[in-house]
């Protein structure tokens, strides 16, 4: 990725802008936007990981929010036991982080191993069904709040290294995580592994004929993507001070796919633009001041967003990416 192309310059400006966010909002005296943009960045981390599957690998996984939920619940459950039962080590942020990464990786391994035996529409439906299974599992566990979810009374304790309760340091943790994950994806896509993943998307038969068995590579990508989503969940729980089954609902997975398509599939920065666009659309549409017949239009913003989504799919398939100068590249 050369920075000195028009596209590279726009991407760099976006990242520099994001780096300055806490200072700008501090000067404005309004910390609402730090929280909002933190949320956007966490969602974009999850969307970037899903892009590895959908954009590069052609595996339309419709259950990605489940791994966010698994990661988030690790923080929620840790805080719950530390608070209720006085088990202090469960508040340790590194233990929670390890739990979030391992938990989401193992669940992605199991779900992936079964789902990847199937193709196409079966794959979509099965990943969706498995994520709903996790959703209903969370709904069924009374101990951890069932439907109502868990409030987190104390954020992950990072032993003084990072103060998770400070908006600004949490923001920078999220921001640098995003940079790291973007760099990781950039390297991954340029690697032998990335070539095979993209190769199996465009022509599986050809990959087989040169002696590559796609299943192992697909499963590896599936686990990597799930683990990163689990990390996004770890961040999300700390940002919201709250976890609930709703985070895993299949419509949340749908939101992630919308972000990828809005941003333009299969390129590195697409999901970041897509997440920004998605949340901004939500904010803008839901605050339309227009009133028709006593009803505030903004309150029914999905009435506009739904048909908009159909139009985007039909007529603007390449998303924001197609409006940026220069040619899209995988890495």
């Amino acid at each position: 990725m050369s920075i000195l192309t028009p596209r590279g310059i726009i991407n760099s400006l976006l990242l520099i802008g994001l780096a300055l966010v806490p200072f700008v909002t501090e000067a404005m005296g309004d910390s609402f936007y730090t929280g909002l943009i933190s949320r956007i960045l966490i969602l974009s981390i999850a969307a970037i990981s899903l892009n590895l599957l959908i954009g590069f690998g052609g595996m339309v996984s419709f259950g990605h929010a489940a791994y966010i939920g698994v990661g988030a619940y690790m923080v929620g459950i840790g805080a719950f036991h530390a608070f209720e039962d006085g088990i202090d080590w469960m508040l340790n942020g590194y233990v929670q982080l390890l739990g979030a990464l391992l938990g989401s990786a193992i669940i992605a391994l199991i779900i992936g191993a079964i789902s990847l035996r199937t193709r196409g529409v079966y794959f979509i439906m099965i990943t969706m069904a498995f994520s709903q299974m996790l959703y209903f599992t969370a709904v069924g566990v009374e101990l951890y709040g069932a439907d109502d979810g868990l409030s987190i009374y104390s954020r992950s304790d990072m032993l003084g290294l990072i103060d998770m309760s400070d908006e600004k340091s949490l923001y920078y943790l999220i921001f640098f995580s995003l940079l790291l994950i973007l760099y990781f994806m950039h390297r991954l896509n340029g690697s032998h592994f990335g070539n095979i993943i993209r190769g199996t998307k465009s022509n599986e038969a050809r990959m087989r004929s040169i002696g590559v068995s796609p299943y192992r590579y697909r499963l590896t990508a599936f686990v990597i993507a799930g683990t990163i989503a689990g990390y996004a969940g770890f961040l999300m729980a700390n940002l919201n001070d709250f976890v609930s089954p709703d985070m895993m609902h299949w419509t949340r997975s749908g939101d992630l796919i919308i972000m990828i398509v809005l941003g333009g599939m299969g390129n590195l920065f697409g999901p970041l633009y897509g997440a920004v666009a998605f949340i901004m659309l939500e904010e803008v549409l839901s605050s339309i001041p227009l009133t028709v017949g006593g009803l505030r239009v903004g309150e029914y913003w999905q009435l506009i967003f739904g048909p908009m989504l159909i139009l985007i799919v039909l007529y603007a398939r390449n998303g924001i990416d197609s409006f940026l100068p220069g040619k899209a590249r995988a890495s």
Binding site: I114, R117, V121, M133, T137, T251, Q302, L303
Partner: protein
């Protein structure tokens, strides 16, 4: 073990299975023939229930309301097909998933706008709001019996339609090879619209039948949509027979599992941990079943002829 309770739960399972079948039949036909993934199928189910609630309110009769709601959902389905979905047949599944997801958002918000955020009740007429003793000693709600009977009736009619009529022949041909029947001069566009309308009417029927038992509320179709997907994946996409068998299996396992798993777990778990684990595990049962079946037969139990992979 309580045998009366088991029989009662099995009837409940059949009733859930029948509702799932009505939904799955439309979804699996639409997918089998048009290669379209329609996530908005659950929205048609919801709209059927809301139409029925409204018409029942106007006419003061559940039967009239139901009879009006079915054609209303059929027309709505045809409108959705003509306006939005027709343009998606040639697209890949990701596009279809996204666009129909957009339809779900639209319909849920539309219902909130028109009917408000609070759910509705559909009152049952007196003759359905009673119990019968099918099994001596265990009174069972008449309405649930009516659902089971009507559902089997519709399944039978659907079987006749698909296996004995000219339209059914075209439907089966379309599920096996849609290019060929187009090349043979069949009006594919009309066939697609009719099949989609039929699927919508069946979804609406399922919705209005579920209305008096569950509450009629926003998003009621989103949850059952996933169960329906599980059914058609297990049954083999495009197969009506597969949808029927899988729907009954899923209905029975889900219902009976939920009521008997706690007792079953008590046998080898401590009582309080069994009580904690049971609700979580019983909601996982059908997904475990799906995983097992897919591990053995990735294309489902009864894939339509010519779709073997």
């Amino acid at each position: 073990m309580n045998w009366l309770l088991l029989l009662e739960q099995m009837l409940n399972g059949f009733q859930l299975g029948i509702l799932l079948f009505l939904l799955a039949a439309g979804l699996t036909l639409v997918f089998g023939i048009m290669d379209l993934v329609n996530l908005a199928h659950g929205s048609l189910y919801m709209m059927g229930a809301y139409f029925c609630a409204t018409f029942t309110g106007w006419t003061d009769s559940f039967l009239l309301g139901a009879l009006l709601a079915i054609p209303a959902t059929l027309i709505l389905g045809i409108l959705v097909e003509v306006i939005a979905l027709r343009n998606l047949y040639a697209r890949d599944h990701l596009d279809q998933v996204l666009a129909t997801f957009g339809l779900i958002l639209f319909f849920n918000e539309f219902v909130r706008l028109v009917w408000g955020p609070i759910g509705l009740d559909i009152p049952l007429p007196a003759f359905l709001n009673a119990t019968v003793e099918i099994i001596p000693g265990a009174p069972y709600p008449t309405y649930r019996i009516a659902i089971i009977i009507l559902g089997f009736l519709v399944a039978g009619l659907l079987y006749l339609l698909v296996s004995k009529t000219r339209m059914g022949m075209l439907i089966r041909a379309g599920a096996s090879n849609r290019e060929t029947i187009g090349a043979l001069g069949v009006n594919i566009k009309l066939l697609f619209t009719m099949v989609f309308g039929l699927g919508a009417a069946l979804a609406g029927l399922a919705g209005l039948m579920a209305g008096p038992i569950l509450s009629v509320e926003i998003g009621m179709g989103d949850g059952i949509l996933i169960l329906t997907l599980v059914v058609i994946v297990i049954g083999g996409i495009g197969s009506i027979k597969g949808a029927f068998i899988a729907a009954i299996i899923v209905g029975l396992i889900d219902t009976v599992g939920r009521s008997f798993l706690p007792e079953f777990l008590d046998l080898f778990l401590a009582e309080d941990s069994a009580a904690t684990a049971a609700p979580a595990i019983s909601s996982m049962l059908i997904y475990i079943l799906m995983a097992l079946i897919l591990a053995i037969r990735p294309q489902g139990l009864f894939p339509p002829k010519g779709v073997g992979r």
